[in-house]
Symmetry: C2
Subunit: 221 residues, 2 copies
DNA sequence: CGTTTAATTGAAAGCAGTCAAACTATGTGG
DNA sequence: CCACATAGTTTGACTGCTTTCAATTAAACG
């Protein structure tokens, strides 16, 4: 099964959009790569820098973030196993945002030029990558709506649902819900709220029985 | 000059990202198309529907929008001359958002299959389209930051600056600023605020001399 | 155990929303 | 040319969601 291979989830993630031929699948799996297991908060990519390699999440979670001039952080997107840290840097020199690990994760690093060669010479891969980019854009649009037109309760509920649906699509969700690997502060940074208000809002959702909190997860090492 | 041709701005817009060969440029200009001049508020595309043609803005402005379940509108992105209404629908059946005209505009409609054939068979065009998509995603990320971590004053100022920069990149800006073809209500829908609060915030910016309001623009027919 | 990180809670302040009304510009029809 | 209708702007008073500040509690780690 491809899921045993470190890049198996990348293949599966690409195939969620469009089927790949056996040859193409092999070409992806044959990408040269090195695997590293990294701690939470590790930067996979830094805003303003030029990456020389392309990271693929094998296990664990990460997020894209930007910092405003005033120093406030905004989490822009959450990345799941099989997600590629950055396709845009195949074509742009400088990254416009940072990517940081949410949990201790395994990351497969593929040399930039190897990834570039594959994408440019394999039409199936190029198409799948393009579709993946379009889907990310669609999620971003929904996120804009979420932050622009919904209150705290709705924003948080929406994020929790998005997370669940995406886990399910990847086949990673446990039967009775999932564990969100984020602190309340990170949750706040993701939906544009304060950690204090996130706390109060979660309390409300729990009181209504809409969510159940389990053991708090911190220091995910 | 390509700008005389209806699709000239599309070519220029594609070339902002990557140079095109003469042949490719001709291939774009040779796309079959019909031009229509349409009134403000006209829908170029509706959420949930499957488009059969691909609209290109020749002149005027448009915006992407979504409506929440509660009926609130969020403007997700603003489109300028040369922008293609929807590349994502070359690959997805159903549109996840609507596109509506901001001003009376000329729109060139290219049959979906002609556009698809060009993108799939011309690597230069495919690359340019992909880059354009990546840039749109980058603008979306900035928009998420804007709405998540900035107050009314900063959000509005940011949108006004973004608009100006993009006009400048297209060579459409007049020497002494530009006219924003949006009502205060639309501005509010774009940055996640009420029209009332937009009004008060604009008043503040004017009082500080940061912006100058000219003749109000309404009924853009 | 002491330290650190995260969650929780309270009180006060402020930014932005809501509601409602007045005002201004533009267009229409008699 | 005026009365009227329409669309957008402006303003005020009030409410309320969210932030800020500060302190406490709980859990995990060395």
């Amino acid at each position: 099964m491809p899921t045993q291979h470190p890049l198996g989830l990348l293949v599966r993630s690409l195939e969620l959009q469009t089927p790949l031929s056996g040859d193409t699948r092999d070409a992806v799996l044959d990408l040269p790569h090195t695997i590293q297991t990294l701690d939470p908060s590790t930067y996979i990519q830094r805003e303003g820098e030029q990456p020389t390699r392309c990271g693929v999440l094998v296990s664990g979670f990460a997020y894209r973030q930007k910092i405003t001039g005033a120093g406030a952080r905004q989490i822009i997107a959450i990345q799941m196993p099989g997600d590629t840290v950055d396709f845009q840097n195949l074509f742009f020199d400088i990254s416009d945002h940072s990517v940081q690990l949410l949990t201790r994760s395994e990351v497969a690093f593929v040399p930039q030029d190897a990834m570039q060669t594959l994408v440019c010479n394999n039409a199936e891969v190029a198409q799948a990558v393009f579709l993946k980019t379009l889907i990310e854009a669609s999620i971003l649009r929904e996120r804009v709506v979420n932050m622009g037109r919904r209150n705290a309760r709705e924003r948080i509920a929406h994020l929790l649902c998005e997370f669940g649906f995406r886990l399910e699509a990847l086949g990673l969700q446990k039967q009775s819900g999932y564990e969100l690997p984020m602190t309340q502060e990170q949750l706040g940074d993701a939906v544009g709220l304060t950690s204090v208000h996130v706390n109060r809002t979660l309390k409300g959702l729990k009181a209504e029985g809409l969510i159940v909190s389990r053991v708090r997860i911190c220091n995910l090492r």
